[in-house]
Amino acid sequence: MRIIVSLICGTIFGFGLYISGMIDPQKVLGFLDIWAIADGGWDPSLAFVMGGGLAVAIPIFQFAKNRTEAVCGGEISLPTNRAITTKLVVGGLLFGTGWGLVGYCPGPALSALAFGHTDTIIFVVAMIAGMGGARAIGLNK
């Protein structure tokens, strides 16, 4: 059951990335280019994706937070780490730099594999190598 739920949630998530246009790096870069606001070239769509996402997710998360058990069994496992560390910020800055270079973050990069473009495959392989390398030297701890 949990595996089917995962497949369905992943598919809905993929629908969202496709419909919102976030599967296209150019759409994402259009948002990150806030420097084009003055000449009317900025695309605020990503902010609306976040807004739509939060509007639906916040009520569900706040409801789920007070439950002790997940519907399909097992605990509701919410992160307990609240520490704001240098590592958190440095990780965010490195991720944001890579994100700004091509326009892919992990979700859209994986979903875009559906198009079968070589550039996307190379990006995903490099991303997995980066994750594997960082984990190999314990940077995920």
Partner: protein
């Protein structure tokens, strides 16, 4: 703002929020894509955890595949960067999300939905770096 698509952005965003919410409520897990993918590299949790993660990743690819083949809804995914830039960017995204424990989904959607200050700081960090990177590549260096 000729490329601005507020309606499809809101609908797509709503679906992303729905998927994240359902994943937490039904399976008890955070739908952070970098965490789900990274967890596949070094499986530590027992039981069906690996298969659940794999199923989520398969769904992420199947979803768009269904829409592009079975509906009239169109989308594209265009990469304009050169090969070295694609590789460096991929490495940075993999490294950064691992060090920072999350990405746009885990910190941006899930973290902010549970009002986590830690996730807000992470989100502001990667957004700021994204803005500055685009400033450098598109405006100061004239496109890469």
């Amino acid at each position: 703002m000729e490329n601005f698509t507020p309606i499809s952005a809101l609908i797509g965003g709503g679906l992303i929020g729905l998927a994240s919410g359902l994943y937490l409520l039904l399976n008890g897990r955070i739908a952070g894509i970098s965490g789900i993918l990274g967890g596949l590299l070094t499986p530590t949790k027992g039981g069906s955890a690996v298969f659940e993660r794999l199923a989520f990743v398969i769904g992420l690819i199947v979803g768009p595949f269904i829409l592009m083949n079975a509906t009239e809804i169109e989308a594209q995914s265009v990469v304009t960067s050169s090969l070295p830039v694609i590789i460096v960017a991929g490495l940075l995204v993999g490294l950064g999300t691992t060090i920072g424990s999350g990405c746009t989904s885990g910190h941006g959607i899930c973290g902010l939905s549970r009002f986590s200050l830690r996730s807000l700081v992470a989100t502001l960090s990667f957004m700021a770096a994204g803005f500055v990177t685009v400033l450098v590549t598109s405006h100061l260096m004239g496109g890469m």
